[in-house]
Amino acid sequence: MKILVCISHVPDTTSKINFTEGDTKFDTNGVQFVINPNDEFGLTRAMWFKEKQGASVDVVNVGEADTEPTLRKALAIGADNAIRVNTPATDGFQVAKELAKVAQDGGYDLIIAGRESIDYNGGMVPGMLAKLIKANFVNTCVSLEVEGDKATAIREIDGGKETLTANLPLVIGGQKGLVEESDLKIPNMRGIMMARKKPLNVVEPVGADAKTKAEKFAKPAPKGDVKLVDKDNLDELIDLLHNDAKAI
């Protein structure tokens, strides 16, 4: 089984988000970049396919050279090869079209991406990629098993779960549940040393057009002070929730 894991290069979850150049650019100053958490669950699941079912695992990112440390981290976790499509990621459609070329060239059986990146939250790349390459698609996937050319996946729905089956090739929009948080591996020194020698192929883009553009950004209005209610006066809280917030 040939697996491709799509990796987004995103600010660490603890990052404070700021903007520069008149709120048109994300301020990367002092920000640490990581593998998108939704992608990391999928990468770790892919490692299990490698260990237990002899799968090969490639990772891919659409981005400029500054994303390479994130790809190297994926190699250190255990991916075999990395591919970087040498163009900035501008919108979901453009990224999906660039990935479609890599996917078709590589002839992958299974492609795992995160359900969304935690920076732009577009939530569209896996579904677009699947449709572009005419593969089956399961979104918000929390469990995945593959036997032969048949996959059984569990998808999270609002208020429950759904079990789906589909033939390969398959694209997954993955999230926590594919593996647990405690299953995630911090690369060890041996992994990091080996990752330096693994191939990181830079390929040129097909030059897909974006259909959306991030024009500018804004931060939420600062929060007013909390209204503290004495723990012995809970009637006041109920009154506030009923009359001020009209929430109960």
Binding site: P11, T13, T14, I17, F19, G92, I118, N121, G122, G123, M124, G127, M128, K131, N136, V138, N139, T140, V142, T152, R155, I157, D158, G159, G160, K161, E162, T163, T165, A166, K176, E180, S182, A210, K211, T212, K213, A214, E215, K216, F217, A218, P220, K223, G224, V226, K227, L228, V229, D230, K231, L234, L237, I238, L240, L241, H242, A245, A247, I248
Partner: protein
Amino acid sequence: MSVLVYTESENGKFKKAAYEAASYAKGIADQLGTSVTAVSVNAEDDASLGKYGVRKVLKVSNDKLSKFNADAYADVLTQAAKNEDAKVVVLSQTANDKYLAPVLAVNLEAGYAANAVALPESTEPFTVKRNAFTNKAFNFSSISSDVKIVGVSKNAYSLKENETDAMVEEFSPSLDESDFSVNVESVDKATDKVTIADAEIVVSGGRGLKGPENWGMIEDLADTLGAATACSKPVSDMGWRPHSEHVGQTGKPVAANLYIAVGISGAIQHLAGINASKYKVVINNDPEAPFFKAADYGIVGDAFEVVPQLTEKLKEFKANNS
């Protein structure tokens, strides 16, 4: 040239998210000087969409569509959009809508803006304000393609009544075998519980509750309020509660009317996940907990004392106000 909206139903009844999407579509139609056409699938009360400004309903009745299937539903919407020559398609952001949106976008060669929180600030260029950085910021995204898809966030635009006579027309799109290559084997959905996605009120517990055996008081408070229950990341990581209840940056986002956090300190990832909720209440014995900076109302006190008392008082309140 109408604005097309997909109005999702479950067991024949439209979801609140569907009426919100219809309200939002009406807002865009007014900006563009056109009307709203809705697509319903196996729904019963199609005329009810008129209340939120829908002029025409394309009513699809098809047993093959009794279970949701992203490819098939996207195919239905693709044909509807082409029939209507729709330039804007509005979706909600339920799990199903998020699943079909990118498939539809490829079918229609459309740019897609997810998590929209307001009507387009301009239609030329078509620029939408949306949540980004997992609710830590907003992004204004312009869509340049001929057809545009907008997914409107739950509780962001809310319901806007706009009484209109809705014409209901039967619509029979042709479905292909290939639309059903992903099979739904089984659906496991608790029908007796309020879900986080649908809930107006969410009651959430954190590590301060000390163990899963103490969750009864969270459930009592939630039951009293008709609320869904949720939890912080450490609680789900330790297995005290199922992952489906984990709220935060890598868990579920919560856009409720009221979010009550019990024994949750308020890590930045958690606060990002609940930021889209309108009112936040924190109950925590540590007055320095970061959650107090993000909350509207706060109580400094021991959850084990405060929560049962609050539940009792709310029961009295409910009894006197119903």
